[in-house]
């Protein structure tokens, strides 16, 4: 197993996440406004006020930059609207997680566009690839060159923010004819080791592109070795699993594990198993499109295990 250190730009994401950690513990100015306590970052005048002790971050997914077919000829426009929604959030997120399919065809200019556009939010972004991001000849080499620093293998990683342990997994590389996403033994072994030292009360957030639960296997909406991979997480009190890929919100709870897929900013897909439908871009009436695209805001209040997820459409 090797850690990726070459051919990557400086990883501002990790550095800034560390800054967030420090901020959660110290360096906070308390303000009271209308009886509600909130804090601002002592060193960042532009940081928005936030609720006491909370961690806020955003999940964005399936931006599919490069797609221009009937289901949405203007994926740049809808991404711009999604970014505006994020910028308008009452609490500025500490960072964003992009759960894959940044691009439609893994082209360098598509990656560039996503990068440039998401910079407007001015927070670190942690990317995990979708199958559309690993179509280059190197099976994801382009993605790793850009976002691989500080990751392992095909791009998986973990980091800690405000007492929450985040794990970014990759289940889209070298897909097999078994018909679903897969993680592979090396990544599964890494995951078991990664969480072995953690207290069971540590809140865990896992993110990956394809669903890590059986969302709808006949359409490939699952991960063939997810059950095995998640086994070491069953002892934890709170495990939140965030996925993309299926361009719609589906949630499932299994004991202490909760699974949540999210919307795309580019185009919708049919509801799982819709008779006669395929899992491809779905054209809806133009005035309906923004009702089925969106982003997700996630908040954790200190002293509570569960995270609050708010799914927001572009409408």
């Amino acid at each position: 197993m090797t850690k990726n250190t070459d051919h990557a730009p400086a990883d501002a994401g990790r550095r800034d996440a560390m800054k967030c950690m420090a901020w959660a513990g110290a360096g906070v100015l308390w303000t009271i406004s209308g009886g509600v306590a909130s804090s601002v970052l002592a060193t960042g005048a532009d940081a928005a006020p936030r609720a006491r002790g909370s961690l806020d971050f955003v999940q964005i997914s399936d931006t599919h930059i490069g797609f221009d077919k009937a289901a949405n000829p203007d994926t740049l426009g809808t991404l711009r609207e999604a970014i505006a929604k994020i910028q308008a959030l009452p609490v500025k997120p500490a960072f964003m997680i992009h759960t894959g399919d940044l691009t439609h065809l893994s082209k360098a200019d598509e990656f560039d566009t996503v990068d440039q556009m998401l910079k407007a939010v001015n927070v670190p972004v942690f990317y995990t690839p979708g199958e559309h991001d690993t179509l280059d000849e190197g099976n994801g080499k382009l993605f790793l060159e850009r976002y691989g620093k500080g990751t392992w293998g095909t791009g998986w990683r973990s980091f800690d923010v405000s007492g929450v342990h985040f794990i970014g997994l990759v289940n889209v590389v070298n897909l097999n004819p078994d018909g679903q996403g897969h993680l592979g033994p090396e990544q599964i072994a890494w995951l078991a080791k990664d969480v072995a030292h953690l207290s069971s009360s540590t809140p865990i957030v896992v993110y990956a592109h394809m669903p890590l639960f059986d969302a709808y296997v006949p359409w490939g909406w699952g991960t063939v070795d997810a059950q095995q991979a998640l086994m070491p997480l069953r002892r934890f009190g709170s495990v939140t699993v965030l996925n993309g890929h299926i361009h719609q919100v589906i949630s499932k709870v299994e004991g202490n594990l909760s699974f949540h897929t999210t919307r795309s900013t580019a185009y919708p897909q049919a509801a799982a198993g819709t008779p006669g439908a395929s899992p491809g871009p779905l054209k809806v009436p133009a005035d309906q499109l923004r009702h089925v695209l969106g982003v997700r805001d996630i908040t954790r209040l200190h002293g509570r295990g569960a995270l609050a997820l708010v799914d927001q459409t572009l409408a």
């Binding site: 077919k69 009937a70 289901a71 439609h104 065809l105 893994s106 199958e131 559309h132 179509l135 000849e137 897909l175 097999n176 004819p177 078994d178 018909g179 679903q180 296997v217 006949p218 359409w219 490939g220 395929s278 899992p279 491809g280 871009p281």
Partner: protein, 122 residues
């Protein structure tokens, strides 16, 4: 949809046998050797997240062309990874010449629930 050249001269089969010993699977059209061995053509349509026909029987030396008619991108990847297309956007095609008899399973590299099979007769 199926576009087979019906007649194969005996000479072509003999040449093919020699060729296939050296390179049983050669990419086409890049592989010049495979080009020489091509004795027919067939096509497969990718539509509504299916390969059509999903199973196709062809004589050895047939060049098969897959064309993507979906709005989503697809690819063509041999189950044993012996051949792999670039991503095919809407309207794009990929061709591969099957030089040697056998059964070749393949899938879409983006949507691995999509399966197809080429049966190559000697």
């Amino acid at each position: 949809m199926l576009n087979l050249t019906p007649v194969r001269p005996a000479l072509a089969i003999a040449l093919l046998a020699v060729h296939s010993a050296a390179a049983p699977l050669s990419p086409s059209p890049q592989g010049a050797a495979a080009e020489a061995a091509t004795v027919g053509k067939a096509s497969i349509k990718i539509a509504n997240f299916n390969f059509g026909p999903a199973a196709l029987t062809v004589p050895a030396g047939t060049s098969i062309t897959w064309t993507n008619n979906d709005d989503d991108a697809h690819s063509v990847v041999a189950d044993d990874k012996a051949f792999r297309s670039a991503p095919l956007d809407t309207g794009e095609s990929y061709s591969f010449t099957f030089a040697k008899a056998g059964t070749y399973g393949y899938h879409c590299g983006l949507h691995p629930q999509m399966h197809g099979k080429i049966i190559v007769t000697g």
